[in-house]
């Protein structure tokens, strides 16, 4: 084991604005080297590498998706570069019985529950095969309208509680979503009914071009929790071990009947909003550059090596095989036939109404025959 050092890449400096934002946020990687190492060694043996592998898979997916977008294989795509720690922790800190409610930013989260990566990629390819099996994975369909997934998570958690099941629900969201009415309604409802739900909000400081300062006058989103009578936790979004602790604790509370938790994962959006976005139009990219060293995979690698839990070669191998698993994904996408529209129409209702029957989907025969 190498001598732990305070200035390890596990704990990079992010410059003044970043350091200030992260102040007081739950951290493992930012701790004293000895406690950092001790923490990693205290975890179940498989866990640190499992978290790293999950992040590596998420990263490989994201990088491949960006390439596929450039190649025209998929359409516009919301990259999550830098947000792998929050997602990996959010999934791995819960059991497979627990429900997840992702947004467009966490399309690959379902792959950590065993869903093949081509499924979420098909979504961005505009193919109905992109809708994953919701019940099988206990992952709701990805949610595009901001904040509308929060009440769903509340209902799932509350419903499970009413049924006497020990199931927890976790909803992902962003800083921008905390301005929307449904965020407020969901938080309030969850607290009132004591729903075992976790609101995992990634504060990446940006909602497309809108900075958090134009979104809210509260500098710490977690403070909003007080208004609903629930705990609000701040955590370093680039620190997978801290995120894991935050979610695990919230889940423990939820299962113990203590109701909802708001977790603010503090960080910075390292990439563009999506492939169609050009951040240099609206933000100082130098500031984003200051945060680049926080990139979670590199930090985790440094910490794993420092704690003697893995060596560089082993970690590289994990990254490589994650990437390799996606090398031929474009072929698999191309080989997935598009169902005819009649089949898609037949998927809207349980009992398909006549208006969606193959004969009447378009103009009736006497008309379409001219």
């Amino acid at each position: 084991m190498t001598e732990p050092s305070m200035t390890s890449p596990a704990r990079p400096t992010v410059g003044a604005p970043g350091a200030q934002l992260l102040e007081g946020a739950l951290t493992v990687l930012g701790d004293e080297p000895t406690s950092r190492v001790a923490h990693l060694l205290s975890l179940p043996q498989e866990l640190p590498l499992a978290l790293f592998s999950a992040m590596a898979r998420l990263r490989a997916f994201d990088e491949r998706a960006v390439i596929l977008q450039r190649q025209g294989v998929i359409g516009t795509y919301p990259t999550y570069f830098g947000e792998e720690a929050v997602q990996a922790a959010g999934v791995l800190a819960l059991s497979n019985e627990d429900w997840l409610f992702p947004t467009y930013r966490q399309t690959a989260a379902v792959t950590l529950r065993g869903c093949p990566p081509e499924v979420p990629l098909l979504m961005w390819r505009g193919h109905p095969g992109g809708w994953h099996d919701v019940m099988r994975y206990r992952v709701a369909p990805i949610c595009v309208p901001i904040a509308t997934n929060y009440p769903h998570a509340v209902g799932a958690a509350w419903g499970a509680k009413l049924k006497g099941e020990k199931v927890v629900a976790l909803a992902f969201g962003g800083d921008g979503s905390t301005s929307a009415g449904e965020f407020h309604e969901a938080c309030n409802l969850a607290a009132v009914v004591g729903a075992p739900v976790i609101f995992l909000v990634t504060n990446n400081q940006w909602a497309i071009s809108t900075p958090i300062s134009k979104q809210t006058r509260v500098t710490r989103l977690a403070d909003k929790a007080a208004a609903y009578g629930m705990p609000g936790i701040r955590v370093d979004s680039f620190d997978v071990f801290a995120c894991f602790e935050a979610v695990r604790e919230a889940a423990d509370r939820a299962r113990a009947g203590l109701g909802p938790t708001l977790i603010e994962a503090v960080g910075y959006r390292l990439g563009p909003h999506g492939t169609a976005d050009e951040p240099s139009m609206y933000r100082d990219q130098a500031q984003a550059g200051l945060w680049a060293a926080m990139e979670p995979l590199g930090r985790t690698e440094a910490a794993l090596i420092e704690a003697g839990l893995a060596d560089q070669q082993q970690l590289e191998q994990i990254r490589k095989s994650a990437a390799a698993a996606l090398f031929d994904v474009a072929d698999r996408l191309a080989a997935t036939p598009l169902p005819p529209i009649e089949e898609i129409a037949d998927s809207v209702h349980l009992r398909t109404p006549w208006s969606l029957s193959p004969e009447r989907l378009h103009e009736p025969k006497w008309i379409s025959n001219g």
Binding site: P128, I146, G181
Partner: protein, 324 residues
Amino acid sequence: MQLNMVEAIGRALGQILEDDPSSVLMGEDIGVNGGVFRATVGLQQRFGDDRVVDTPLAEAGFVGAAIGMCLVGLHPIVEIQFDAFVYPALQQLFDHAGRFRWRTQGAYGLPMVIRLPYGGGTKAPELHSDSPETIFSHMPGLRVVIPSDPRSAGELLLAAAGCGDPVIFMEPKRMYRRGRYEVPEALLAGDLDKAVVVRDGSDLSLIAYGAMVEVAEGAADVLAQEGASVRVVDLRSIYPLDRDELLSAASETGRVVVVQEAPRHCGVAAEIAAMIQEEAADSMLAPTLRVTGMDMPFPLFQSEDEMLPSIPRVVATARAALNY
């Protein structure tokens, strides 16, 4: 000058801000970023961030606030980022905006415009391709306007801003960058309630709006080669309908096909067909037919061409009417 639709909208907004000191633009990402479609590029720089406001992500909140702004004499123009994201604001629009003049017994209106990029054909993700004009035109008290080209976009936007009542101004985003066309340097407000005959004809009328006008014109070209003289009417006003122009088209050509990309059920086309049935039945040589989207969520984009009325579908339907 030669402008595409999104540039013409930007120009009209600049002119409104210039001419009307009470006008205010608000919406998500419209300031520094100039809007995700770039309709408001440069306007915050020109007019300041009190008049071109980046709002928090809260459609119900800022559409509701637009109503309050009207009470103190401002003229808000609100940009909704994409079609389906107006839905959180429906309560404000339906429960309040559309009822305000009525609640003041006709005395006061709300001079506000909701700009709503809408419609399919851009290979966008889910909920970025809806055509919700029907729900707005069904709820009382709102005007619904849809331009089809750069010039009508600029002129109708000016008219909407000056009309004194709330206007849902829907912008067919697939037409945003569909070529540059001549637009007058100084735009004049267009006629808000008027449909326009974009091509005259005597055998059949194709009624369309938004991106479907281009499709109707393409179909008219094909039908012309077959010897049919086809009139194309650009509806422009979804509520109210231009009854005179529609009834002239019906009675003068005797055959009508209406094209809409929105789902079929209870759509604008159904309303037009009912109007013709009620008021021009005697002149009709064929039933009024529709080419529409399907009664289902807008499909993920690989199948979007199935949803969107196409030239062949319009041609086939027109032939059915012609051969009836």
